[in-house]
C-alpha cells in the first residue's frame, strides 16, 4: 500500500475513536424520556386527527404542519432536473453542430 493511504487510514482511525467516545455519552437508545420527545412531538401526535383529518402522522407533518419545507424541496428537485438537462443537451448540440 502507498504511504498516502496509510496516513489517511491513521487519520480516519483517530476520527472513529473520537466519534465513538462522543456517541457513547448520548442518552440510551429507545427510552421514552429522551430529550428528543419534547412538547412539539406531543402536540403533533395528540392533535393530528382533529386538526388535519388524516390517520397517518408522517403525512400530516410533511404535508400540513410543515408544508412550506415540502414546497421548497419540490423546487430543489425541479432545479436539479433543469440543471442536468442544460448540462447534457448543450454538449450534444456543440459537438454535432460545429
Amino acid at each position: 500500500m502507498k504511504i498516502r493511504n496509510l496516513v489517511f487510514l491513521l487519520i480516519i482511525l483517530l476520527a472513529v475513536f473520537t466519534m465513538l467516545l462522543a456517541v457513547a455519552e448520548l442518552p440510551p437508545y429507545g427510552s421514552p424520556d429522551n430529550p428528543v420527545h419534547n412538547m412539539v412531538t406531543d402536540r403533533y401526535i395528540n392533535k393530528a386527527l382533529e386538526e388535519t383529518g388524516v390517520n397517518n402522522m408522517v403525512t400530516a407533518v410533511v404535508l400540513d404542519y410543515r408544508a412550506y419545507d415540502t414546497l421548497f424541496e419540490t423546487i430543489v428537485l425541479f432545479t436539479a432536473a433543469v440543471a442536468v438537462y442544460v448540462t447534457l443537451k448543450k454538449a450534444k448540440g456543440s459537438e454535432s453542430g460545429e
Binding site: R4, N5, F8, L9, I12, A15, V16, M19, L20, L21, V23, A24, E25, L26, P28, Y29, G30, S31, P32, N34, V36, H37, V40, T41, Y44, I45, A48, L49, N55, N56, M57, V58, V61, V62, R66, D69, T70, E73, V76, L77, T79, A80, A81, A83, V84, T87, L88, A91, E95
Partner: protein
C-alpha cells in the same frame, strides 16, 4: 475501556451509523476513480439517515398510524422520519447532477481518473503560458 464498550453495546444503531460514515469517508479519500468517490458520498449519506431515524425510536412503540381501537398507545416519533424525507431528495438531486458532470468530463478529457485529469490540466496551463 470496558465501560466504553458496555455503553456502546446499549446504543448499537449509532455505532453502526458511525461505521458507515467513516467507511464512506475512507472511500472518498483514497480511491482516484470519480465514480467511486460518488458512491462514497452516497454511503456517507446513508449513515446519517440511519443515525437520525434511529434516534426517534421508542422500544415497544407502535407504527405512527392512528388506530382507533385503544387510546393510550405510545407511538414513535414521526418528526425525525419526516425531516429525513427532505434529506433523501437532496441526496438524489446531488447524485444526478454529479453524474451529469462526470459524463461531460469524460467527453472532454477521455478518462475518468481524477489524478490523470489534474495532470492534463497542468499541461494545458503550462502550454498556455508559454
Amino acid at each position: 475501556m470496558r465501560i466504553l464498550l458496555e455503553k456502546l453495546l446499549i446504543n448499537y444503531p449509532f455505532f453502526f451509523a458511525i461505521i458507515l460514515f467513516v467507511m464512506g469517508a475512507f472511500t472518498v479519500l483514497t480511491r482516484s476513480n470519480l465514480f467511486k468517490k460518488l458512491i462514497g458520498i452516497n454511503i456517507m449519506e446513508g449513515g446519517i439517515f440511519l443515525f437520525f431515524v434511529a434516534a426517534g425510536n421508542i422500544k415497544g412503540g407502535a407504527v405512527p398510524i392512528l388506530v382507533e381501537n385503544n387510546p393510550g398507545m405510545t407511538y414513535i416519533n414521526p418528526l425525525t422520519s419526516a425531516l429525513m424525507l427532505t434529506g433523501i431528495v437532496v441526496s438524489v438531486s446531488v447524485t444526478a447532477f454529479a453524474l451529469a458532470l462526470i459524463i461531460r468530463l469524460y467527453k472532454i478529457y477521455g478518462t475518468v481518473d481524477a489524478r490523470r485529469i489534474a495532470e492534463m490540466r497542468k499541461e494545458v496551463k503550462e502550454r498556455w503560458q508559454e
